[in-house]
């Protein structure tokens, strides 16, 4: 399973990257693999709304399951990846390029509380 070192992770299999005061969020390679073919994404909160850590920021539908994407940090929802609406399969093809949402964090400390690549790898089955 691909787990890039430069990203942070959550127990619920999201990845997060802080760049220029913005946290970019997606799902891990393991998550997309477990879900199998992702066919739909929706249920984003409104752009500009205030998000709490752990809140649902998107719902993914695969051919056999439904999964929620949880915000790894609190903040303001800046943007969602519109490309995924027409091409949700990008989440399977390139999970670390296919970002889902961007949040302006209200507490940057929360980033340091997330899992490192090494710690996240330990959560995954051998």
């Amino acid at each position: 399973m691909n787990v890039p070192d430069n990203l942070k992770y959550t127990q619920t299999h999201e990845w997060a990257k802080l760049a220029n005061d913005v946290v970019v969020i997606g799902i891990s390679d393991h998550a997309q693999h477990e879900l199998t073919d992702i066919v739909h994404i929706d249920d984003y909160p409104k752009i500009g709304s205030v998000i709490k850590k752990g809140q649902v920021i998107a719902v993914l539908e695969s051919v056999k399951a439904v999964a929620e994407v949880f915000a790894p940090v609190s903040g303001t929802l800046l943007e969602v990846n519109g490309k995924l609406e027409d091409a949700p399969e990008l989440l399977n093809k390139a999970p670390y390029d296919a970002w889902i949402a961007k949040i302006k964090p209200s507490e940057k400390k929360e980033m340091t509380g997330l899992l490192s690549a090494e710690a996240y790898k330990k959560l995954l089955p051998e």
């Binding site: 739909h40 929706d42 719902v59 539908e61 695969s62 051919v63 056999k64 399951a65 439904v66």
Partner: protein, 454 residues
Amino acid sequence: MDYIPHAESQIKFMMEKVGVKRLADLFDTIPRELLLDDERAKAILKSGALADNGMTELELKNLLAGLASKNKAYKSIFQGAGSYWHYIPAVVDYLTSRGELWTSYTPYQAERSQGYLQAIFEYQSMIAAMTGMNFSNASLHDGATALVDAIVMAKSQNKDRDTVVIAGKINPFYKTVVATALMPRDIKLICVEPGKLAASIDGSVMAIIACSPDFFGTIHDVAAIVQATKQKDNSILVIQCITEALSLAMLKSPGAAGVDIAVGEAQSLGIPMCFGGPALGFLAVSDSKLLHKMPGRIVGCTKEVAGERLGFTLTLSAREQHIRREKALSNICSNEALNMLRAAIYMAALGGTGLKQVATINVKKANYLKAKLCEIKGFTCINEGPTFNEFVMKKKDTSIQKIIKSCESKDILGPLDLGTVNIEWKGLMLFCATEMNESKAIDDLIASCKEGIA
């Protein structure tokens, strides 16, 4: 294979865990007089009220025939109000009674149910054509519950809003079902006349329900309702509620009017009135975004991996409760299979031309009846605008019950006394005429109305 869900020891363990001494205690919330426990069951059997240790087939048949003969079957029916008297071609009963199709369940196993899945797919295609929408589901229980599902869909698109505005006279029975089902969700219902719609739209409105034809039979300009709504706020969803599906065969389609969700009752399409149910709910949308919020089963069509043959299978199942669990928008995990099949066969048998002809006959009969009634002194039609197969007459005095009795003496089920449905509708009668009402019956009805007021 035996099916033994729990061993005695497991049952005992579970009872201890939840603190129940006897299994029967689990049913404590059911009023005692409604509960059929062992003692009560024995008492009933002893009384002879049930066929306990054997009635012959002949005896049983006579018993049931005796009960059935207590029903009043009229020669001619002039009431609709959500359940309509239409002709059912013989082919509908014949095909649905075939062993391989005779089931109330949704046969979803693709490898052994291709025929039935294709029938569902054809039903969906025909409902899509009738409504002018892109996607239909595999059917729902009835029009009223389908309307509930449509409102829940609208809520999913406008989560921060709580008001539904109903334009046109909603069927009061639908309103009751909607109010009951939505009670825990804190959704407000407001009823307005379509002309006053714009004034009632504010930031709290998540959906408009356009009833057309409405409970009084009036056909509204749904396109104008859509326009008035979207002009004010594009995120409000417009739901058209149609309680008489036959009207779709001749009126401007919901799709052409631009509505977001077309929903309603398709009992008129080959399903008998059966004391008011089981019926058939339909629901269709055009936007693929809403497709993912649609309740119920959806059958899709695909091609075999090798070859060109078409194959049918349930699709987009991740919307449904068995996958989405408590987060599913609807708790339907089935469809109204047998009645859906009847509607599919009915629509296929009549075809677009046949359906339009039946619809036209309905309008002509109803308009003839309306004109004749208007000639009677004291009768006025109160519908503002055109009507389909129903309309409302106002009577100055309170002789409505007399009219109904006079009809009954001629074996005719006369108009619905709307005052018995809603006190505000006192002095109003809802008439319905369909292709089933022969000219003679219409003349008899008119004579009865005259006698009733004489």
